[in-house]
C-alpha cells in the first residue's frame, strides 16, 4: 500500500492539537487548585490507526498509526469515598446540632461560674434558720423566696426563647435551605443531562452537584445512585437518584432526575412534625407524633439532632432511653418548682394555690405550678399572711414548730417521678437542681466526645478524597513541561516533514 504523501502532516497536526488541549487542561487544573470541591481533570488520549486490513491484496508494508486523538476530558474521583464522606458528615450533623442545643441549655442552667438558683436555695435555708431561732423576720424569708422566683422566671423565659428560636429556625430557615438545595440539584441535573447528551461531559457542573449533595448529606442520611438513561440504542447518560432510608427501613425517593421531593415542618403542642413529599408526590411523616408516641424516623443528620432536641423529653414522653431534649429540662424544672410550691403551701395549711393561706399562687390562675406561672401569693406579698410558725391554734408566741417542720421538709428526700411513675431523681430540691446540671453536663461531655471523633473520621475521609481528586502543583508543573516538550516535538515533526517534502517538490 502506498503511503499518502501528505499524511504525516495530519499526524503532526493531531499531535500539536492534543498537546495544546493537554496544556489547556493543566492550566484549568492549576487555576482551580484552591476551588472547593474541584476534581482534577485529565485529558484522555488515544492513539488511532485508520488502516484496515487488505481484503483483496496481501501486502508486506508496515501498518503505521495515524496519530493521537483527544477522546475527551474526564474527572478523577472515587465514588466510594463520596459515599463514605456523606455517611460520616451526616453523623457529624446530628451530633453538632445536638451539641449546640446542649450548649444553649448549659448557658441557662450551668451554675459553676454564677451560682444563682443554688445560692438562692442556700439563702432560703439561712433565713428559715434565723426565723426558727427567733431572730429572723418573715419578710426576710419572703424576700429570699422572691429572689428564687425571679431566677426561676428568668430561666423559664430563656428556655422558652431557646425553644421558640429553634422551632422558627427549623420550620422556616432550615426547610427553605434544604428545599433550595433540592431545587438547585434539580436544575443541575437538567443541565448536566442536556450537556451530556450533546457530548459535553459537564465536569464543572458535576463538581457543583457533588458539593450540593455533600451539603444535603449534612442534613439527612441520603443514598446517592446513578441510573442509566438511554438516549438511543447503545448510548446512555447517567442520571442522579437520591433517596433517604429511614430507621425502620423504608426508602423515600427525594430526587429522581428532574423530579424532586419537598420538606415541610410544623409544630403543635411543642412537637415538631417533619413531612416529606417524595418524587411521586406521596406524603410521608418523618418525625412527629404517631400512635400517641413521639417518633423520629431519621437515623442521622442535622434534622435528626434538631428534631430529637425539640421533640424528645426522655422519660417524660414515655421512653426512658430516648434523647433528653429541651422537653426533659423544661419538664424537670417545672416539676421541681411545682413540688416546691405545693410542699410549702401544704405546710402552711393551704391545699391549693387559691387558698387564703397559700404562700405561692399562679399568675394565670391554674392549679398547677410551672416555672413560668409561679408567684408569691398576694396575701403573703402585702403581709396579710405570714409563714405559720405553728399549726397549733393555741401556740405560744415562740412556738416555731412549723418553721422547724418546713426546714426538715426542705432537707428531706423527695421522690421526683414522671406522671407515669418513671423515677427521675430522689433527693432534696437543691440536689435535684444540681442533678439536672449533672445530667446536662454528662450529656454534653459524651456528645462532644462523639462529635470530635466523627469530625476526625470526616477529616480522614476528606484527606483521602483530596488525595484522589485534589490538584498537586508539582504534578501539574511536570505536566506543563511534559506537554510543552511534546508540543515542541510535534512542531519539530511538522518542520521536518516540511523540509522532506520541500526536497521532493524541488526535485519535481
Amino acid at each position: 500500500m502506498l503511503r499518502a504523501t501528505f499524511s504525516g502532516f495530519t499526524t503532526a497536526q493531531l499531535a500539536m492539537a492534543a498537546s495544546q488541549r493537554a496544556l489547556d487542561i493543566t492550566g484549568q487544573n492549576l487555576a482551580n487548585v484552591n476551588t472547593d470541591g474541584y476534581t482534577r481533570q485529565r485529558l484522555d488520549l488515544i492513539s488511532f490507526n485508520s488502516n484496515n486490513g487488505d481484503y483483496y491484496v496481501t501486502n508486506s508494508s508496515a501498518r503505521i498509526g495515524n496519530g493521537v486523538i483527544a477522546k475527551g476530558v474526564s474527572q478523577l474521583r472515587d465514588p466510594f469515598l463520596d459515599i463514605q464522606y456523606r455517611r460520616q458528615i451526616s453523623n457529624v450533623g446530628a451530633y453538632d446540632s445536638k451539641d449546640s442545643v446542649l450548649s444553649d441549655l448549659a448557658a441557662i442552667f450551668d451554675e459553676t461560674n454564677k451560682g444563682s438558683i443554688q445560692t438562692a436555695f442556700q439563702d432560703i435555708d439561712k433565713q428559715l434558720l434565723a426565723l426558727s431561732s427567733g431572730d429572723g423576720a418573715d419578710n426576710m424569708v419572703r424576700s429570699s423566696m422572691e429572689i428564687l422566683l425571679n431566677l426561676i422566671h428568668g430561666n423559664s423565659t430563656e428556655l422558652s426563647s431557646v425553644r421558640e428560636h429553634m422551632t422558627t429556625d427549623f420550620e422556616d430557615t432550615t426547610q427553605k435551605t434544604v428545599n433550595g438545595i433540592l431545587n438547585d440539584i434539580k436544575e443541575l441535573n437538567k443541565s448536566i443531562k442536556v450537556s451530556q447528551i450533546l457530548g459535553n461531559p459537564a465536569l464543572e457542573q458535576m463538581d457543583q452537584r457533588n458539593s450540593k449533595l455533600d451539603e444535603l448529606a449534612t442534613y439527612l442520611p441520603i443514598d446517592v445512585s446513578y441510573k442509566d438513561f438511554d438516549i438511543s440504542k447503545g448510548n446512555s447518560v447517567s442520571v442522579l437518584q437520591v433517596s433517604i432510608t429511614t430507621s425502620d427501613g423504608s426508602r423515600i425517593s427525594l430526587i429522581d432526575d428532574d423530579k424532586i421531593g419537598e420538606f415541610t415542618a410544623s409544630t403543635t403542642n411543642n412537637v415538631t412534625q417533619l413531612n416529606v413529599k417524595d418524587t411521586e408526590n406521596a406524603s410521608h411523616q418523618l418525625a412527629g407524633v404517631e400512635n400517641g408516641a413521639v417518633v423520629n424516623h431519621l437515623g442521622s443528620g442535622t434534622y435528626k439532632g434538631t428534631l430529637d432536641m425539640l421533640n424528645s423529653a426522655g422519660a417524660f414522653n414515655g421512653n426512658i432511653s430516648s434523647e433528653k431534649g429541651l422537653g426533659y429540662y423544661e419538664e424537670s424544672f417545672d416539676m421541681m418548682v411545682s413540688k416546691f410550691a405545693t410542699l410549702l403551701n401544704t405546710l402552711n395549711g393551704a391545699d391549693s394555690p387559691d387558698h387564703p393561706d397559700a404562700l405561692f399562687s399562679t399568675l394565670d390562675g391554674s392549679t398547677d405550678f410551672t416555672a413560668a406561672n409561679i408567684k408569691i401569693s398576694d396575701a403573703w406579698k402585702n403581709g396579710t399572711i405570714e409563714i405559720k410558725k405553728s399549726m397549733d391554734p393555741n401556740a405560744t408566741s415562740d412556738d416555731k414548730s412549723n418553721i422547724n417542720k418546713i426546714q426538715e421538709a426542705l432537707k428531706a428526700s423527695q421522690d421526683f417521678e414522671t406522671a407515669d411513675g418513671s423515677k427521675i431523681y430522689k433527693g432534696d430540691f437543691y440536689n435535684f437542681y444540681v442533678n439536672m446540671q449533672a445530667v446536662l453536663g454528662i450529656d454534653q461531655q459524651s456528645t462532644s466526645t462523639v462529635l470530635k471523633n466523627s469530625i476526625s473520621v470526616v477529616n480522614q475521609t476528606t484527606k483521602s478524597r483530596l488525595s484522589v481528586s485534589g490538584v498537586n502543583m508539582d504534578e501539574e508543573g511536570v505536566n506543563l513541561m511534559h506537554y510543552q516538550q511534546s508540543y515542541t516535538a510535534a512542531c519539530r515533526l511538522m518542520t521536518s516533514l516540511n523540509e522532506v517534502l520541500e526536497n521532493l517538490l524541488n526535485v519535481i
Binding site: V33, N34, L102, A106, D110, E111, T112, N113, Q118, F121, Q122, D125, K126, L129, A130, S132, S133, G134, D135, N394, T396, S397, D398, D399, K400, S401, N404, K405, Q407, E408, K411, Y430, N431, V434, N435, Q437, A438, L440, G441, I442, Q444, Q445, S448, N459, T462, K463, S464, L466, S467, G470, V471, N472, M473, D474, E475, E476, G477, V478, L480, M481
Partner: protein, 338 residues
C-alpha cells in the same frame, strides 16, 4: 498516598485550630483559677463541689446561730445568778438572822426586806434579751411573771403558780406542768428530725427554752406547802409581820425555801452545762468549716503551678505551629521551572 496542596492546607488549618483550642482552655484555667469552668468539663467534680459548697454555707449559718444562742444562754445564766444572790440573801443570811431571836420591830424590817427581795426576784425572772423574755418558756414575746400588790400571788401568764387556776378560778389549760415542759427547738446541725407524731426528737435539735417555773418552782408539795420561792418569800414576810412574829411557821417555810434554793442552784448548773455544750458545738463547727474549705479548695481551685505550666506549654506548641505554617506553602515544582 498523593499529597495535594489543598490537603496540606486543610490539614494545617485543622491542627492549628486544635492548638488554639488547647491554648484557650489552658488560658481559661489560669485566669479563672478553677479546675473546671463548666459542669460538662468535669461533671463528677461539679456535683461534689455543689454539695460541699452547700454544706459550707449551712455550717456558716450554724456558727452564727450558735454565737447568738450562746449570748441568750449567757443572759439566762446572769438572770439566774441574780436570783441565786437574792435567794441566798433570804435563805442563808437574813432568814437565819430573823429566826434567831428578833423583836417585832426588827422582824418588820426583815419583812420589808423580804418583800423587796420578792420584787427583785420577779424582776430577774422577767429579764429581757433584746426583744425576748429569757425565762418565759416558749412565750418570749409576753411578760411572764406578775406579782400581786400584796405579794401573796405570783402569776405566770395570768395563772396562779400556787394553785394552777386562771383569773376566773378555772384550772388552767394548758396546765402549769405542761407549760413548764415547753421546748423551743433550734436546728444546730444535729439532723433535725421529727417522729411519727410530728414532735421533734430531742436529740436532733437544741432546746433554747427556759421556763421560770422550773427555776423558782410552782404548785404545792405533798404537804400542801408552796414550792415557789417568791410565794414562800412572801409567806416568810407575812409570818414576820404578824404580831408577835410566828417563828415556828417561819422555820418550816424557811426549810421549804431551802429546798427551793437547791432547785435554783441546780438550774444554774444545768445552764452551765448548756453553755459548755454550745462552746463545744461552736468549736466543732469552726473546725468543720476549715475542713470543708480545704476540701472545696482541693476540688475547685486549680493548682496554679500546674495550670501555668500547661499554659506555657500550650503557648509554645501554638508558636511552633505558627512557625510551621510559614513553611507549609512550600515552593513547588513550578518555582523551579525555567
Amino acid at each position: 498516598m498523593r499529597i495535594t496542596t489543598s490537603m496540606m492546607i486543610s490539614n494545617y488549618q485543622s491542627n492549628l485550630n486544635a492548638s488554639v483550642n488547647n491554648l484557650n482552655n489552658a488560658q481559661m484555667h489560669v485566669l479563672s483559677q478553677r479546675n473546671f469552668n463548666s459542669v460538662s468539663e468535669n461533671p463528677a467534680a461539679a456535683i461534689r463541689a455543689a454539695s460541699l459548697e452547700r454544706s459550707y454555707a449551712k455550717n456558716e449559718d450554724y456558727i452564727s446561730l450558735v454565737k447568738d444562742l450562746h449570748s441568750r444562754v449567757d443572759s439566762q445564766e446572769s438572770s439566774i445568778k441574780e436570783l441565786v444572790t437574792y435567794a441566798e440573801q433570804i435563805a442563808k443570811d437574813e432568814g437565819l438572822k430573823a429566826l434567831n431571836g428578833t423583836n417585832t420591830a426588827q422582824a418588820k424590817v426583815y419583812a420589808e426586806s423580804f418583800r423587796g427581795l420578792q420584787q427583785s426576784m420577779v424582776r430577774s425572772l422577767n429579764m429581757k434579751f433584746g426583744d425576748n423574755y429569757v425565762m418565759a418558756g416558749s412565750d418570749c414575746a409576753n411578760l411572764p411573771f406578775q406579782l400581786s400588790e400584796d405579794g401573796k400571788t405570783l402569776t405566770f401568764r395570768g395563772i396562779d403558780v400556787s394553785t394552777g387556776l386562771d383569773k376566773d378560778g378555772n384550772p388552767a389549760n394548758p396546765s402549769l406542768e405542761k407549760m413548764a415542759k415547753e421546748t423551743m427547738y433550734v436546728d444546730l446541725g444535729f439532723g433535725l428530725t421529727s417522729d411519727a407524731s410530728g414532735a421533734i426528737l430531742p436529740s436532733s435539735a437544741f432546746d433554747i427554752a427556759l421556763s421560770g417555773l422550773n427555776v423558782v418552782g410552782f404548785g404545792k408539795d405533798a404537804n400542801g406547802m408552796d414550792n415557789n420561792l417568791i410565794v414562800l418569800a412572801g409567806q416568810l414576810a407575812e409570818s414576820l409581820e404578824s404580831d408577835p412574829p410566828d417563828l415556828t411557821k417561819m422555820e418550816s417555810i424557811l426549810g421549804q425555801f431551802n429546798k427551793g434554793f437547791d432547785t435554783l442552784v441546780n438550774a444554774e448548773t444545768n445552764l452551765g452545762v448548756k453553755s459548755n455544750f454550745l462552746d463545744n458545738t461552736q468549736n466543732r463547727l469552726e473546725d468543720t468549716a476549715i475542713t470543708l474549705a480545704t476540701q472545696i479548695d482541693a476540688i475547685v481551685n486549680a493548682d496554679m503551678p500546674t495550670a501555668i505550666t500547661n499554659y506555657s506549654y500550650a503557648q509554645y506548641a501554638y508558636n511552633a505551629a505558627l512557625r510551621v505554617g510559614v513553611n507549609i506553602l512550600s515552593p513547588s515544582f513550578i518555582d523551579f521551572m525555567k
